[in-house]
């Protein structure tokens, strides 16, 4: 039985232990910040830096997947949908801005009626666009989440459903040649909120913005993980029905994580557009949706930095390996995925925990 003395004693040590647990996270965060904002711009060529910028966009999606899948147990195989929504919103604004006030984007003159459709008009406003980049994916995710989670669809069924959505979304985009460029997508952007996209200085600026966004998203997720909500999300992941008997509706808890992950994917898509210069159905369908996931699985889906490091590392490996062995990459990717799922279910981030446990056992 606990005595009064026991009760008062552990309090300060616990507070210290908590702070101690946060020190490695803070160091990791600073290291990530230094690597992206100081080291990378110093050593990489403009071409490589733009490439890294694209990978950082994938990492932003990965942070969201880590939240929804790693902590929330929702295997989101369709993040391409939200990535695409954010990307197309941004691309539409850039096309309209390039065309000038009341101007018509070039591809519409070629394939369309030569007139800007009514639903494009609001995207002339930069502020409307920035708000829409976050809100459109978030609202779509909220609607989907409310419908899916309240009906208690989960596990493999949820994964299949979300992948089917990505496939349907890509098909829908391909069919809209006149209004959103069909298979070609939207491309050939000249400026980004008034800055010339051909200027190397502006390209570097874009990299800094993207990296800072990633760091901000990591902070958002960090706060979620250490909050009471983060504990509750783990509880829902591991014992959804039990949580219900404690008086919570698990659907609401899952919707929050799903919506946050969708908003992050949307923001990543919006930053991807000016960096890469094109968004097309090929970047938002089933294959890219799965590719988003692989980095998260390999890095360690339930950790804070695992998805970030995994996403960047896998994308980097893909680029360098396909430069030297063009047809070899897909095999390597598949093999890596199988190995991680079979032997390291917690990803490479789990290796540290595994070693620690072994040490504890022998000690």
């Amino acid at each position: 039985m606990t005595t009064l003395e026991d009760k008062t004693k552990p309090a300060p040590t616990r507070a210290k232990a908590k702070r101690k647990g946060e020190l490695p996270t803070a160091i990791g965060f600073i290291a990530l910040g230094l690597a992206l904002l100081v080291l990378a711009p110093a050593v990489l060529s403009d071409f490589r830096l733009a490439l890294l910028g694209r990978f950082v966009c994938y990492a932003i999606v990965a942070v969201g997947i880590g939240l929804a899948w790693g902590r929330g147990g929702m295997l989101t195989l369709g993040q391409g949908v939200f990535f695409g929504l954010g990307a197309y919103v941004m691309a539409m604004h850039l096309k309209l801005a390039d065309a000038g006030a009341d101007g018509v984007p070039d591809f519409m003159k070629l394939y369309g009626s030569g007139e800007v459709p009514g639903w494009w008009e609001p995207f002339r406003s930069p502020i409307f666009t920035i708000v829409a980049i976050v809100l459109v994916p978030a609202l779509v995710a909220f609607g989907l989440g409310a419908a899916i989670f309240r009906r208690r669809v989960r596990g493999a069924y949820f994964a299949i459903l979300s992948q089917a959505l990505a496939a349907a979304f890509a098909i829908l985009l391909v069919g809209q040649q006149a209004t959103i460029g069909g298979t070609n997508g939207l491309n050939g952007f000249k400026s980004f909120f008034g800055f010339n996209l051909y200027d190397p200085v502006n390209k570097r600026m874009l990299f800094y913005i993207t990296s800072a966004t990633l760091l901000l998203m990591v902070l958002v997720v960090w706060q979620l993980y250490r909050s009471r909500y983060g504990e509750l999300l783990i509880a829902v992941r591991d014992q959804e029905e039990r949580v219900r008997f404690l008086g919570y509706d698990p659907a609401n808890i899952k919707i929050v994580a799903y919506v946050v992950a969708a908003a992050m994917a949307g923001i990543a898509g919006a930053l991807f557009v000016p960096i890469v210069g094109i968004i097309s159905p090929a970047s938002v369908g089933v294959v890219p949706s799965i590719a988003f996931l692989i980095g998260v699985a390999i890095g360690g889906r339930s950790t804070l930095f695992g998805p970030v490091v995994g996403a960047i590392a896998v994308a980097w490996a893909q680029t360098s390996l396909s430069e030297s062995f063009p047809s070899f990459w897909t095999y390597f990717q598949g093999a890596m995925f199988v190995l991680v799922v079979a032997f390291l279910p917690r990803g490479f981030a789990g290796v540290g925990a595994l070693l620690n446990r072994r040490k504890e056992k022998t000690a």
Partner: protein, 251 residues
Amino acid sequence: MNGDYLELTDVRVTFDGFVAVDSVSMTVLQGDLRFLIGPNGAGKTTLVDAITGLVTASGSATFGATQLLNQKVHKIARLGVGRTFQTASVFEELTVLQNLDIAAGAGRGPLTLLRRRSSVPEEVEEALEITGLGDLRDKQAGVLAHGQKQWLEIGMLLVQNARVLLLDEPVAGMSAHERDETGQLLRRIGAERTVVVVEHDMDFMRSFATSVTVLHAGRVLSEGTVAEVQADPRVQEVYLGRAATTGEVRS
């Protein structure tokens, strides 16, 4: 507060024509430690499932003036009805403290949820003390012994502020010592609450029950004190005669 009791009237549960629970009526008063016994398939767990919203049922189950049947599971929980399961289902990756804190938090607003826990809620401290899990508060629930997990579950019911506790075989798989501890714990917490225990262990029942309801084939066969029920020839025929001997063997 003293006037609240659990009252079941004509509760009936059918699965595809099979009647699992057939017109069960019973009243459990506050402070009562009611044991619900009966052979396998008698409908004990199904009855608990019906009260907690897991299966649909006809009839009526009220606590105070509130109808419980056929409401959503989480709404029934918020009305003050809590349960445990045959297999302990704690959140294994979370610590004892986190488990209890989640159980205490169904009424928390978004702003509280999005912040870190700055101090341990009073009711969680109390539950740690009453269940004797205070020293294990920072241990992961997954590493607890079987008995400790069940105590944690009971602790979660306490912080959840459950006024009706439905415990499904809380001492299954426990050592004799753990059973005794659990019985004492139930007595301590039962005074101010309405407690129903589904149990197979006859020794445990004899030691701690204040009243007993015997279910057989979905119906109430007998009800009363331990002595009354044991003396009932119908009960001896279907259940106690057999179980009493096995009970002796087990102890």
